[in-house]
Symmetry: C2
């Protein structure tokens, strides 16, 4: 990574890192940085369900902004849930605390009954939150990120009816009723494209697609079921000036295929060797990651040393965004998160 | 893989495949082949807890043998649970249905209070089951496998107190109280070596070490915490005539390190590219695997074609044992398991 001489502002640093242009040091933010590990978050959340929070514009804006001052994050991500746009399709999803459906999607009839509407009409609060955040962030030059859950991950929950270790119902559908699953993925892909486009329109400067469960698949199944969906989303939502980050959980065996989607940045977990990722990505994509969030329980010194190693491993990439390999956990120590973002700033001081 | 001209008996085929000697075709068995997917298993289990089954010699022998005739498996594995030897240390583990501990292990004092005894005295039924099975199998020339859970996986449950998606308590212990975890792993390693030695003495002809949770770690942490344990077990229990199989769940990023343990066979899940595994293993180890158990829901034709592809991908290995990438699930269709073992036999007629 070539080094820009002057210190960049956070928005410029983030956008340049995503595009593989020279930066002074990697930008830093954390997945699920607005979360239960923060006492100030728990205070705002108190007595409110997770979904209520997602549609409460004031509170969602407030918690989205918390990580800037509380833990030194250099980007803000929309506070929401990957299921929010799905609710707009008329599905009943409960959070207990993971998404659960009393009536899992298993038939063509259920898929045809799903409403095809504009997310702007169904979940307008999402775009209101983004517009408000963009306004709040303008002066501070902090970049605003939007996001969506990837169709395969949404389908995994919708078909299985809940989280699962094996997602055996979903995988059984893959071999026994491939047309049903294909049709469900097509609907969700259309929804996701419209949803991300509306987020960009409302002010998101970068968007991240989260595929939490695609890593359950072998490479052959991923190529058949997931890659075309990612490609379609990348093709339809990518803008010259709004980079797309593609996150795979547990996808170290899928790295080559993750790159084939055409996203600007691949986001990887701690199982991925960043040197290998950087070398495979070449000039095609930047890399984001990849500390194990559990290691934020380590001492400040240890966190600094791990961040330095991660930055070194990613140094061959065209661009690197420092982040975790998975979201912050409720048990994550606040001081560990602070050490993490401080360590990123220390990289700039060489 | 070079082909022996004459059809081998199942014991000879298995032992030769483990050692990388020429065979007529890959041997076949399935992890968790004696399980709830079999109606005949459910009948014997009825009204009995899982742990009761493990100590009921007659029933354990009966269900261990079922997969030979019911689904055509060509090896028998001891029916037991990875926690059986741990019970002999005086720990209270409940199954609900996964292992749970009211009093998770978090301190040196708890580790020192764990009894260090001979598994032969504490869980004599395990060895009685093996002796009985060996007697039953002698005439049929079916090989008998023993097994143990790997210390890291046992420690994961003991520290966390139950299964977990992130095992954050365990990973926090890794960075905050490494000495406690090291001491727990040392105890469990000693236990595992004694347990496998006693199984070999009781007639196990091959032993498999199951590491279900080591795949949660990044390569660096695995090298520090898991590899020395696997090495110690391989060094202490390996016999010229009793091969050791090392299974990692979700370990595609750890393949090189899995090979460094010195086991005779590496067993891998469907995320691993078998061609890559075969090429890395070279003449040092055979490979076992790796169909996704969920794909046993596919048609007989599809299963035959997938098995043929797996055998082709593994053809560069010094030896290949056809198996799943993870255990059979309660929802696995019996006819899919039969198709799987038939497909292995069809390879010999290829």
């Amino acid at each position: 990574m070539s080094q820009a001489k002057n210190e960049l502002d956070p928005t410029e640093r983030m956008l340049r890192a995503c595009r593989g242009e020279s930066v002074d040091r990697p930008p830093v933010w954390l997945m699920r940085q607005a979360g239960r590990y923060l006492p100030e978050y728990r205070q705002i959340r108190e007595g409110t369900s997770f979904l209520e929070m997602c549609s409460d514009v004031d509170r969602a804006v407030a918690v989205s902004l918390q990580p800037i001052d509380l833990v030194g994050s250099e980007a803000v991500i929309l506070f929401s849930d990957i299921f929010v746009p799905v609710l707009g399709m008329g599905l009943e999803v409960e959070f207990a605390p993971g998404p659960t459906l009393a009536d899992p999607i298993r038939t063509h009839a259920q898929i045809e009954a799903m409403r095809q509407t504009d997310p702007r009409d169904e979940v307008p609060y999402v775009f209101e939150i983004l517009r408000r955040l963009r306004g709040e962030l303008a002066d501070r030059r902090i970049p605003l990120l939007g996001f969506a859950g990837a169709p395969f991950t949404l389908a995994a929950y919708l078909v299985e009816g809940s989280g699962s270790r094996d997602f055996a119902t979903l995988k059984t559908m893959m071999v026994r009723e491939p047309d049903v699953l294909r049709s469900l993925l097509a609907r969700l892909t259309k929804l996701t494209v419209a949803y991300l486009e509306a987020q960009i329109e409302a002010g998101a400067q970068v968007v991240q697609l989260f595929d939490t469960w695609a890593g359950l698949l072998d490479a052959e199944s991923y190529r058949e079921w997931v890659l075309p969906v990612h490609r379609e989303i990348a093709r339809s939502t990518r803008r010259e000036d709004v980079p797309l980050i593609l996150y795979l959980n547990n996808g170290s065996h899928l790295l080559e295929l993750q790159l084939e989607a055409g996203a600007d940045v691949i986001s990887v977990d701690w199982r991925v060797d960043l040197e290998r990722a950087a070398s495979l990505a070449g000039r095609e994509a930047s890399v984001q990651g990849n500390l194990d969030p559990c290691l934020l329980a380590a001492s400040r010194e240890e966190i600094f040393s791990r961040v330095a190693r991660i930055a070194e491993q990613a140094s061959g990439a065209r661009g690197h965004i420092l982040n975790l390999g998975h979201g912050c956990l409720p048990s994550t120590p606040v001081e560990g998160v602070r050490a993490f973002t401080d360590a990123a700033r220390a990289l700039g001081r060489g």
